[in-house]
């Protein structure tokens, strides 16, 4: 599989589209146990994400990447700095920008069908049914419409949550280590399916992970964070066609580059 014309790739999204997420100088300090000093989690984080872009934020655990995503999504107020999404400052969670949770936010009291339709309660019933059917098919859960989440595997529940987000037609999807709790093979399958879904839907996706290989497989750009306090060390563009060949020299080179960015900074930290 040579890198080339296999898939249509938006190579220069940022030049044609305006940024949809703009993060400027975001700092976050959690209150400490004694009042004198808090814990500085993020320092002067800046990031711009283009419409339709798939961006991954990687970093070791404890680097504040999840906190950053929660700030962008409006679940946490930043200590200082600004976050603008679609031109407006973020003031709280917004149904146009949906979050996919690591711990799985699918509602266990609803069937797969009702979960996927949850975000479209204002839609007409017929349209809702058609959309729900469409996205259940897209995530590969046809036949499980009437199942309850506790009857499904962890990977299937994550698929339900992704379908629920897509069905509500958000402009942005935030994913916080959505495959973190899954076993290795399921994770691989979920990644390739997510790539396919993203190519069909072209949603803006901000995807947080500690898994560098996952980031390089999925993202247009990878923001590499280093910890304590969390800063974005570098943003690496991944100019590889999808679906990505995980044995290609370019893939491996990009992966190793990110490893070295993180490794180098770890050495500097000591």
């Amino acid at each position: 599989m040579s890198s080339g014309s296999r898939v249509n790739e938006p190579q220069n999204t940022s030049s044609t589209d305006r940024a949809t997420v703009v993060v400027r100088d975001v700092c976050m300090t959690f209150a400490g146990k004694n009042r004198s000093r808090g814990v500085e989690v993020l320092r002067d984080v800046g990031l711009e994400v283009s419409r339709g872009e798939f961006i991954c934020i990687v970093g070791p655990s404890g680097c504040g990447k999840s906190t950053l995503l929660n700030i962008i999504a409006g679940f946490l107020p930043a200590t200082s700095g600004t976050v603008e999404v679609d031109g407006a400052p973020v003031r709280g969670p917004d149904s146009r920008h949906l979050f996919v949770f690591q711990e799985n936010g699918v509602f266990p009291w609803l069937t797969v069908r009702d979960n996927v339709g949850f975000g479209m309660q204002k839609a007409a019933a017929a349209q809702r049914d058609a959309t729900v059917k469409h996205y259940i098919e897209m995530v590969g859960l046809s036949g499980f419409e009437s199942a309850f989440p506790h009857q499904l595997s962890g990977g299937m529940r994550q698929r339900v949550e992704i379908a629920r987000a897509l069905a509500a037609n958000p402009s942005i999807i935030y994913m916080d280590e959505p495959f973190g709790a899954l076993d290795f093979l399921t994770r691989l399958k979920m990644r390739s399916d997510l790539t396919r879904i993203w190519q069909q839907e072209r949603k803006t996706i901000l995807f947080v992970t500690h898994d560098i290989e996952e980031a390089v497989q999925l993202a247009d750009r990878v923001a590499v964070m280093t910890p304590r306090p969390g800063v974005i060390r570098e943003i690496v563009r991944v100019n590889l066609p999808r679906p990505r060949n995980l044995d290609s020299p370019e893939y491996l080179a990009t992966r190793d580059r990110i490893f070295s960015i993180m490794g180098m900074s770890a050495a500097l930290g000591h």
């Binding site: 999504a73 679940f75 709280g92 969670p93 917004d94 149904s95 949906l98 979050f99 949770f101 711990e103 799985n104 936010g105 509602f107 266990p108 009291w109 609803l110 949850f118 975000g119 309850f148 989440p149 506790h150 509500a168």
Partner: protein, 258 residues
């Protein structure tokens, strides 16, 4: 469950039950008691109660009181508990009072109930209400406190608030634990109706027991009343357990195999 274990789960309790009845019968015969009935005496007691038209009447009377007392406790306890679980300040305001009232046995309220309501149906209903309302309140509050935060965050992401948030997320998320609380409270209510009827009124299974003893030491009827109380308590519990099997609730009882 394999066929062998299923057979065992039927045979074993039947065998224990038969052994229990045999021991009971033998014990009465050996001691030569003239007052305490054998199992067959109790069966004859049932037939007599049925013949006098008392059995069904007393059962209905007791269930009537439990329905009122327990129903009122649900109507007040569940909303109160949900509010305490959701709003920190409501919890802070009410919890000390609730925790202070909770350990007072409903039996201790009997004199107060008689003073306030006399020998009417209201007195036992009040006692049953008191017995059930605190466990219901406490378990409902705990259910809200135990909601997985991710469900609330997902709901907020979909911009649910107020009544929608409550109806679509808070209530279904807490319902399994609330129902378990109701099941326990119903058991307590059933215990208390019997005690309350022994003192306050002139019908019901509790009244039957105390009346049969006072009017001629009819221990066959005493035990018949006890057996009835046990059977109905068991049925009430089974009924709530059936509710717990509802598909939209089953997730909340994950540890229990079925």
């Amino acid at each position: 469950m394999s066929r062998a274990t299923r057979t065992r789960s039927i045979i074993l309790p039947l065998a224990v039950g038969a052994a229990f009845l045999a021991t009971w019968h033998a014990a009465v015969r050996i001691t030569g008691s003239t007052l305490f009935p054998t199992p067959m005496d109790v069966v004859r007691g049932f037939v007599e109660l049925q013949g006098r038209g008392l059995l069904l009447r007393y059962i209905v009377a007791s269930l009537f009181r439990v329905s009122w007392g327990f129903g009122l406790a649900v109507l007040i306890g569940v909303p109160l508990g949900l509010l305490m679980g959701w709003f920190r300040w409501v919890f802070e305001a009410l919890n000390p009072l609730v925790q202070m009232f909770r350990p007072i046995s409903p039996i201790a309220w009997i004199p107060v109930a008689i003073l306030w309501f006399g020998v009417t149906d209201v007195a036992p209903i009040f006692l049953i209400f008191l017995a059930a309302v605190f466990p219901i309140t406490v378990s409902s509050a705990a259910a809200v406190a135990n909601i997985q935060p991710v469900y609330v965050r997902a709901a907020r992401n979909f911009e649910l608030s107020g009544l929608q948030l409550f109806r679509q997320v808070i209530l279904p998320a807490t319902l399994p634990q609330i129902i378990t609380g109701l099941r326990i409270a119903l058991g307590i209510a059933w215990l208390v109706v019997v005690a309350a009827e022994m003192i306050a009124v002139n019908s019901g299974l509790g009244y039957l027991i105390i009346d049969a003893r006072n009017a001629g030491k009819r221990y066959d009827l005493v035990v018949a009343g006890m057996v009835m109380i046990g059977l109905i308590g068991l049925l009430l519990d089974l009924a709530v357990r059936r509710v717990e099997r509802t598909p939209s609730l089953r997730w909340g009882y994950a540890s229990r195999s079925d």
